[in-house]
Amino acid sequence: MNSVNSAILDPNVGWLILAIFSVVWIWLGWFWGRKNKELDDYMLAGRRVGMALGTATAMATWVTSNTTMVAPQFALQLGLWGMLGYSLGSVGLMLFAPLARRIRQLLPFGYTSGDFVRLRYGVWTWRVFLVISLCYAIGWLISLGMAGGVLIHALTGIDYQIGMTVILTICVLYTLLGGLRAVIGTDFIQTLLIIGGVVTLAILTINEVGFDQMHSSLLKDRPELLNLLMPAAVMFLFNNLLFGIGEIFHSNVWWSRAFAFRKDVGFRAYLLAGIIWVPIPIVAGFIALAAPALGLNVPAADMVGPMVAAELLGFGGAVLVFIIVFSALASSLDSLLAATSDLVLTDIYKGHINPRASDERLRVMAKRIVVLLGVITWLICLPRISTLGSLLQYLGAFVASAIWPIVAGLYWKRANATGALLAMVLGTGCGTWAYFGIGFYVAALVSAAVSMLTVFISMALSQTEFEWEQLKQSREGSAT
């Protein structure tokens, strides 16, 4: 697609919107950041986040540019099950609800998911977990950065590299200024913008195209998209379910929120966020099914969403789409920057490099790490490596291997370090083999299955029982 020629917004309008939102987000980052006095304020928003902000941040973080771009892509490639399968990503949020309560009980002073793995399973399992977790975090950051550049280019014609640089810079700046408090505060506003936008877009698509015309065009041109028994799509459905669970259960993005929410809020906020997340991929994804009815030739599947929106909505709608995309990108990028910075700070810097670092030193390092992550992401994003969907799905092999070590470690005393370590290594290895040998839609399935078997066998063979009290030492600790 030649996006410069087919862009629906003038680049000057794009720059104006970018400038307005940049000023607003950065000002809010500074405004909320003023209240940060201690390290806990910066990293965990003071550990007193309420139900409204808690629900919105869980929801907004999980509604990413991948949701707004890849859900239509999957609808176009896998049909109805593509968008329904994407919706199953919400199950991860709902299942994390009891875990969030358990995490807060077991680690009242915890900072990261790494804290738990280190105290629960020991140093070597912790290191393997950190490799998986950081690969995932960087991969997600890259996919978000790339999505930013691609979308800004497609909608406004602004050069990919420049658009990607702008979105990354804005998110780094306000995360730097306000820490998790700024991330959570802006997430609330971004949630309202995203949902308002996708609902408006969906209603306009229904009015313009209509279900009957959409259905008859699909039957004529792409009947496989309406096939409810499409084998690859059904496999994708279960794969995406496990992928979503794996992403949420292991990632510090979600653990840091479990630590940041008020004691009685975690369970309810994650459950409600999961419930209200369910329809979002359907609302955002189904517009791709209008492509045949509109006679659109879609050269790159991950561009179908913006193309349909551009065809249907004209100038006012194009501005709306741009705001939705910008909000979706920012709400996830900022969360990921903050949570990954916490993980690198606590588990790499304090855990491995400077165990005696003071809180003041850690606060300085936290800001430097946010900048460093932004620069690394920017460098990797400069060339557009692959389509967003395949990059995202590749990570499924990694994250699904962590589901069972996390769940077993939180609830079962007989879960042990050897089993958890082997589960992550074997699960990731077999999932990667399945990704290349069979297809992207089975990577997470194979990885989770191998990991589960390994954990269960190791528990059956184990004679030792873990003492939960050992987890209370989460405030101090390192590899040395």
């Binding site: 139900m51 109805l80 609330f188 329809p279 359907i282």
Partner: protein
């Protein structure tokens, strides 16, 4: 097995309806937390 136009319409309309309610739920929760001084 092919999905009918009615099935497609049902799924999408239900999703749009639930999504329309979401901002209202969040704003209600925000007001409730703000009154109780429990925003953060």
């Amino acid at each position: 097995m092919t999905a009918s136009a009615g099935f497609l319409a049902f799924i999408v309309t239900a999703a749009v309806a639930v999504s329309t309610l979401t901002p209202l739920i969040l704003i209600y929760l925000w007001i409730r937390d703000w009154i109780k001084q429990q925003l953060w």
